[in-house]
Symmetry: C2
Subunit: 194 residues, 2 copies
Amino acid sequence: MATGDGSRPSDTGEDARVSRTRADVARAALEVLTTEGSDAVTHARVAEVAGYSKTTLYTHWPARVDLIAMAIESIGEMPHHDRTGVLRDDLIAELQVFRAGIVEMRLDRVLSAMAEWASEEQMARIRNRVNTDGQRQMYEMLGEIFDGPALDAAVSMLTGVVACPAMMYGNMPDDAVIEAAVDVVLNGHAHSKR
Amino acid sequence: MATGDGSRPSDTGEDARVSRTRADVARAALEVLTTEGSDAVTHARVAEVAGYSKTTLYTHWPARVDLIAMAIESIGEMPHHDRTGVLRDDLIAELQVFRAGIVEMRLDRVLSAMAEWASEEQMARIRNRVNTDGQRQMYEMLGEIFDGPALDAAVSMLTGVVACPAMMYGNMPDDAVIEAAVDVVLNGHAHSKR
């Protein structure tokens, strides 16, 4: 096959094969992480799910954390709500999207795995990127009415109204709790003495 | 040695030995969990730190989750602030105690391990107990001014102002952020339409 960039066909074939392996293994590792938990992400289990040999996996991803890091990186962008411009509605909807992400994508297991492995540099970078991406829209929205420490506080508080019940009790907050949280924050801004 | 309850001296000696082993191993497992993370809690590592044989550990605690569960159970009560009765001060101080617990006792690693293993029934029970105990005082204090969904929301939000930066970025909120969060919640109550 002509490549036009001077590489030999076999290089392109090799790259494509490695890419395909990587995609397959990343998908399998993410599936094991989200359905079985981080402790289940082993070379044996991921190889089994992916349909590759353990030897192949160990060659490219020597340590378990390499598999977990690749799995999380393969998630791509965090889901966000398309803003309408009405702040209360948008804050509520963004939290509902986060809640759905935990229910459907098991983002709680992703958060947990990133925290568990954060002493590894590659995971600390991934954790930073994923969480910054995840909170980006909340910062934008709350940044319209808060700044400084109060902005950081408000973002953490609304993140927490979904993340804390999920991580601490395995429960999702219902809509009434999400709405109550948003109203406390909006009321708390409107009447702050600062 | 006379025991007065009909048991033989050798039973009492055996019980004492098992108790001592349990306490030693629990302490070692907790140390490994908090200083090295949950993935490091293996029979080999805990046996090394505790100074017992792996065989002894496998006999009493067959699975890794048994070691982790025992470690967390050995923590006992969660630390709380002694209330002064001034709500704003007490809320701020309780969050500072929680923050200190993460810094000094690595409560973040405990929370993370409980979330990771929550599909195991013994860990789900421990997680419920530890987190309920941990949030008990926050519920009491915020229960003075909130009820229903707003109370659940307020507790999760203030828990989140410490827990989220810790779990998501490995950072502690500073006093300014903690105070801002408490003020948003107190202002948010004072002026809510409900």
